[in-house]
């Protein structure tokens, strides 16, 4: 049970009964959290449209969505990983390493950019596989492993390109990734994001694999008994996470027309924030992709609106932190109150009988 080590007490022994009761309560609250986050998103969008000048324009929507592409992509595999009770903190570093690998290959290999992009995604998958081997093969806690690879991959990304930047990517490529869909103000990059979201959504919510992921998060041993290979599934999740990071690395490099070692530094915190905000439990076993997508959008809209309203960047830092804390404290507090009420009712029933 290495995976719950990073959080708090795993349910065990006599406590398990109570924990199970709470989990049921949480599951009851799940629907309402999804709904709450979508409602919250709607309210924020509405408020911002009314009160922030220049917010409700097609052009702004384009900027906003384009800024959210990396976050949305990274949040997809992260959701699945967190649901199994693991975490991947190395995502931003893998994006950075992907970006510098792309820069170095473009600079010195003479390969075609198409091939380079594929190679970058594959090397992302390889980096993810390293995480996967450490977590599932050696049975180490994913928090520790990915903090290690966070430093390792970021360090390597500086090693690959030194502190230089590669910027001479062909203009038609760098333009292509920021173009809107003709006739609309929606960036074309939203399409692959939606496609991938669909793939991850289907895997999570409509396949036996998805159900197994929840089972792992709730109780790893039970999932093993049910005939699901926990280790193998988790391994592939980390590989998928790495591959998506490679993809984001390609996008990031092209969007900013610049491959450099510090690309996407610190993004892992935003990704985790978005996933938790989307209602995924850090203990695993709970959450859904719809909530996460809404969480990503909420985070993006909030930042964009506050920025347009000339709120200090430093206040934005505080807002992110507070949102993260609130998004985990609130559902737990609600569940706690419910559980307490429930227990009181039970006790009342006991004394009555």
């Amino acid at each position: 049970m290495a995976h719950d080590s990073l959080y708090t007490a795993p349910p065990s022994g006599a406590v398990a009964g109570r924990e199970r009761g709470r989990l049921a309560g949480l599951r009851g609250a799940l629907g309402s959290w999804d709904a709450a986050i979508v409602a919250g998103l709607a309210v924020v969008v509405l408020l911002a449209s009314v009160s922030v000048p220049n917010f409700a324009t097609g052009r702004n929507a384009q900027f906003l969505l384009l800024d959210l592409v990396p976050l949305a992509l990274l949040a997809l595999p992260m959701t699945l990983i967190v649901i199994t009770g693991e975490i991947d903190l190395s995502v931003a570093s893998m994006v950075g390493l992907g970006s510098t690998l792309m820069g170095q290959m473009w600079l010195s290999s003479g390969l075609s950019l198409e091939l380079i992009c594929v190679l970058v995604v594959l090397s992302g998958a390889l980096l993810g596989a390293v995480n996967g081997v450490f977590v599932t093969g050696f049975g180490l806690p994913s928090l520790a492993v990915t903090i290690g690879t966070l430093a390792l991959y970021r360090g390597l990304s500086f090693v690959v390109l030194g502190d230089q930047a590669v910027a001479d990517f062909p203009a038609d490529w760098t333009d292509a990734v920021v173009q809107p869909i003709p006739g609309t103000s929606i960036p074309v990059m939203v399409v692959p994001v939606l496609l991938l979201a669909l793939v991850f959504g289907v895997v999570l919510h409509a396949t036996p694999v998805g159900r197994a992921l929840y089972a792992m998060g709730n109780n790893g041993e039970a999932a093993t008994f049910a005939g699901v290979s926990v280790a193998r599934t988790k391994f592939w999740l980390f590989v998928a996470s790495g591959a998506v990071c490679g993809l984001v690395g390609v996008f990031w490099t092209l969007r900013y027309a610049s491959a450099r070692g510090d690309n996407a530094t610190g993004l892992e915190l935003t990704v985790v924030t978005a996933v938790l905000l989307g209602g995924v439990s850090i203990f695993g076993g709970r959450g859904g992709l719809l909530g996460v997508v809404a969480g990503v959008l909420l985070l993006g809209v909030l930042r964009n609106a506050l920025q347009l309203a000339d709120v200090d960047a430093n206040a934005l830092t505080i807002v992110t932190g507070t949102l993260l804390i609130a998004s985990v404290v609130l559902p737990h507090a609600v569940a706690d109150v419910r559980a307490r009420l429930h227990r009181r009712r039970q006790r009342a029933q006991l004394t009555a009988s």
């Binding site: 080590s5 990073l6 928090l143 970021r154 500086f158 430093n314 505080i318 993260l324 804390i325 404290v329």
Partner: protein
């Protein structure tokens, strides 16, 4: 289960007859000894190699630099060890350090006559308050430490940024007596390092000899069992976070004294190094084992690596990669050693030894 109430007394009186809990205790103790020894060896090898390359590396000046350089990291690593032993983690230490360092500078700006011991106490108190916020949120709301401290990492840093608003505090703004604290030596040893030594010794003594200190291990190895055997888990975890915050506060004041130039970014990203130091020092990330001595050695090793790379004129970009690789190697090695020892112990008990 070995470190519940009965285990505590036995651990102190190490000569008590063997019982069921004994092999595992000896296992952890031997593991720790192995770890500390191997750290010392690694440190020795590193210094030797660097010295062969450049004999000035062991001049009194550079030893002084080294001790000065690691003092702050050592203090933070001690706080982190207390937290990790209880199966939690405190990612907000870098932000607390930054906030306290800046607050110290502001204090001297506002009241230039403040004697430095008062500044020190105020800094520690501010750090403890930040730690209490962490601990309070974790204990009351029963939310994982990882998430809460990730949130407060943003929040404390944001407050710091907001407060500083681009302002910088310079050495000239602080009293000489305070700045001298950062550079002064006592019998050739920097005062800062002596402070760190006192902190290590005090924490080490507390963990080893006090009942509440032993209980921290109990909480970390099996929280549910600890709770059942009457350990006040919530209170202990809260106290541990206050302690970690207070130590980060102490480190913040010392940081101000040592560096003299302060802006709101002081200590950014330090949390990673602190966790790395603890993990490299043999503190198990899943709680329940580790010593502050190991963590302190880990901190010294990391600092020495930084200095050696500069002296060996190795590309500084490798430094971060090395830190990451070290974390992975350390946790991997732990797992390997634990598995081997467990296997050997099993073999021995099977033979009836």
């Amino acid at each position: 289960m070995s470190l519940t109430d009965t285990g505590v007394t036995e651990r102190i009186a190490n000569t008590s007859p063997p019982d069921a809990g004994r092999p595992r205790r000896r296992l952890t103790e031997r593991l720790l000894a192995v770890r500390e020894l191997s750290l010392l060896l690694a440190l020795g090898a590193l210094i030797l190699v660097t010295m062969l390359h450049n004999d000035r590396f062991l001049s009194s000046q550079s030893i002084k630099d080294l001790l000065l350089g690691c003092a702050i990291l050592v203090i933070l690593a001690v706080g982190q060890t207390l937290v990790i032993i209880t199966r939690n983690v405190d990612l907000s230490v870098g932000s607390i350090l930054g906030l306290v360092a800046f607050a110290t500078g502001e204090l001297f700006l506002a009241a230039p006559g403040t004697p430095w011991p008062a500044a020190l106490l105020l800094g520690v108190a501010l750090g403890a308050v930040c730690g209490a916020v962490n601990g309070g949120l974790i204990a009351v709301a029963k939310v994982p430490a990882l998430v809460i401290t990730l949130g407060t990492l943003y929040a404390f840093r944001g407050i710091d940024y907001y407060w500083a608003a681009g302002q910088q505090i310079n050495a000239a703004d602080m009293p000489r007596s305070f700045l001298r604290l950062g550079n002064q030596t006592l019998l050739g040893v920097p005062v800062l390092f002596l402070v760190a030594l006192v902190v290590v010794a005090a924490a080490g003594f507390y963990l080893h000899s006090y009942r509440s200190g032993r209980e921290l291990y109990a909480i970390g190895s099996e929280p549910a069992a600890a709770r059942l055997s009457g350990v006040p888990v919530g209170r202990r975890v809260f106290a541990v976070f206050v302690a970690s915050g207070a130590l980060a506060g102490l480190a913040g004041v010392l940081y101000a004294a040592r560096f003299g130039t302060l802006d709101a970014a002081a200590g950014t990203g330090l949390e990673l190094q602190v966790v790395a130091a603890a993990v490299v020092g043999g503190v198990a990330i899943f709680g329940g084992s580790g010593s502050v001595f190991g963590a302190a050695l880990g901190a010294v090793l990391l600092t020495t690596i930084g200095s050696s790379l500069a002296v060996l004129r190795i590309d500084p970009f490798w430094q971060q990669a090395v830190v990451g690789a070290l974390i992975l190697a350390a946790i991997g090695l732990d797992r390997l050693l634990a598995a081997r020892m467990a296997a050997r112990l099993r073999g021995r008990s099977a033979r009836g030894a």
